[in-house]
């Protein structure tokens, strides 16, 4: 598991890459995060719950997924350090989540609440800007993924995943990667064996 001070450092690096906060805003921002840990295959947020927290991932891999019936399972996104996590639309809208957020490996986080984020955003323009730009990047990422899902071949999707998250093969069971790409596990095994990375 990751030390809190290391997690805060990782968080600072991330926010600097999105929108560097002036020192006093960073001090306010960093003060609202609390450490949180979960073991493998723990449900952090369940479908139907309102997402109370914004997570920062310091260690481990997680996924946001939709689960309808047996046939309908869709992995929307993997989250891992250093990035934000949680069910973002539910968090921002404060409406019941359509999705689950679960750990795929033991995980370490920082997390903060919707109320605290709203409070800081109303007090600091810089923090408001940071959150806004962060959301914009998330939106851009989602549109990119929508495009891939629609017109990339399985092989292209797999290569894209390996470019984005090269370490993920070593950390996560194949079935989640197969689900993310939208193919079944048998075809995924064939894909891995045929694609030279």
């Amino acid at each position: 598991m990751v030390d809190v001070s290391v997690s805060i450092l990782l968080l600072r690096n991330l926010t600097n890459s999105i929108y560097p906060l002036p020192e006093k805003d960073w001090i306010s921002f960093s003060s609202i995060w609390k450490p949180f840990e979960a073991k493998r295959k723990e449900t952090i947020t369940a479908s139907g719950q309102v997402e109370k927290f914004l997570y920062f991932v310091a260690n481990g891999v997680q996924r946001v997924f939709y689960q309808g019936d047996e046939q309908h399972e869709a992995t929307l996104v993997f989250t891992y350090a250093p990035s934000f996590g949680g069910v973002l639309d539910s968090f921002l809208l404060q409406l019941p989540s359509r999705y689950f957020y679960e750990t795929l490996t033991p995980s370490t986080f920082l997390r903060t609440t919707s109320e605290e984020v709203q409070q800081l955003m109303s007090e600091s323009q810089a923090i408001q800007r940071l959150i806004q730009i962060g959301i914009n990047h998330s939106l851009a990422g989602l549109m990119e993924r929508m495009t891939e899902l629609q017109c990339f071949s399985s092989e292209e999707k797999f290569k894209k995943l390996m470019t984005r998250s090269p370490h993920i093969l070593q950390l996560v069971p194949h079935k989640y990667l197969a689900n993310y790409i939208g193919i079944d596990a048998t075809n995924f095994s064939k894909l891995i064996n045929s694609v030279k990375i």
């Binding site: 073991k39 493998r40 295959k41 490996t105 033991p106 093969l169 070593q170 950390l171 996560v172 069971p173 194949h174 079935k175 596990a185 048998t186 095994s189 891995i192 064996n193």
Partner: protein, 186 residues
């Protein structure tokens, strides 16, 4: 048999299953099929055969565990006491205490032609399920829930013992699979 604290036992078992999962994902999952199907230099089982053997036991025990846990009442009973037979099985399976080599029961001998990726996927899936049952076990009585053993339904063992010997058995064959991998120089 010496009574143990239920939650401490379950936590320690969870840690073992976590280690097994991590090992299979990092060490075996991404190996080519040929490496997974290679028998060991002394003629022993391939990696796929080791895990397929475990899957056969997992199939029986996890099904029974799920059914009986789901049917059972919650119970805060904080203590678990092994039965003599349960502890005997666990010690027999544990690679650190059970040094004898065994001839496997006929219906638990792994097949020759396996799909190694499917075998690994099944093992991983079973271990994830097992994590779930260990967690549910925290609010159950591990003494009063009884599980029939795989070779005959007339012998039933305490859930706490079944957890222990299944996981000890997994440890035994995962080590065997690791030795196979090391021998291949992978």
């Amino acid at each position: 048999m010496k009574p143990t604290e239920k939650k401490a036992l379950l936590n320690s078992l969870e840690e073992k299953v976590e280690r097994h999962l991590k090992a299979v994902i990092t060490e075996f999952q991404n190996l080519p099929a040929s490496a997974l199907l290679k028998t060991s230099p002394d003629g022993g089982w391939s990696i796929a055969q080791c895990l397929d053997h475990l899957n056969g036991y997992g199939d029986h025990y996890l099904r029974e565990i799920k059914e009986r846990i789901d049917k059972s009442e919650n119970d805060e009973q904080p203590i678990f006491k092994s039965s003599w037979l349960g502890q005997y099985f666990t010690e027999m399976m544990d690679p650190d205490s059970g040094k004898r080599k065994f001839t496997t029961f006929k219906n638990h001998i792994p097949k020759k032609d396996l799909d190694p990726n499917k075998v690994i996927a099944e093992f991983i899936h079973q271990q994830e399920d097992l994590l779930g049952y260990l967690r549910k076990g925290k609010s159950k009585n591990l003494n009063s829930i009884r599980i029939p053993i795989s070779i005959t339904k007339w012998i039933r063992l305490k859930l706490g013992d079944v957890f222990q010997f299944v996981i000890a058995h997994n440890e035994r064959h995962i080590r065997q699979a690791m030795r196979n991998k090391t021998a291949q120089g992978n």
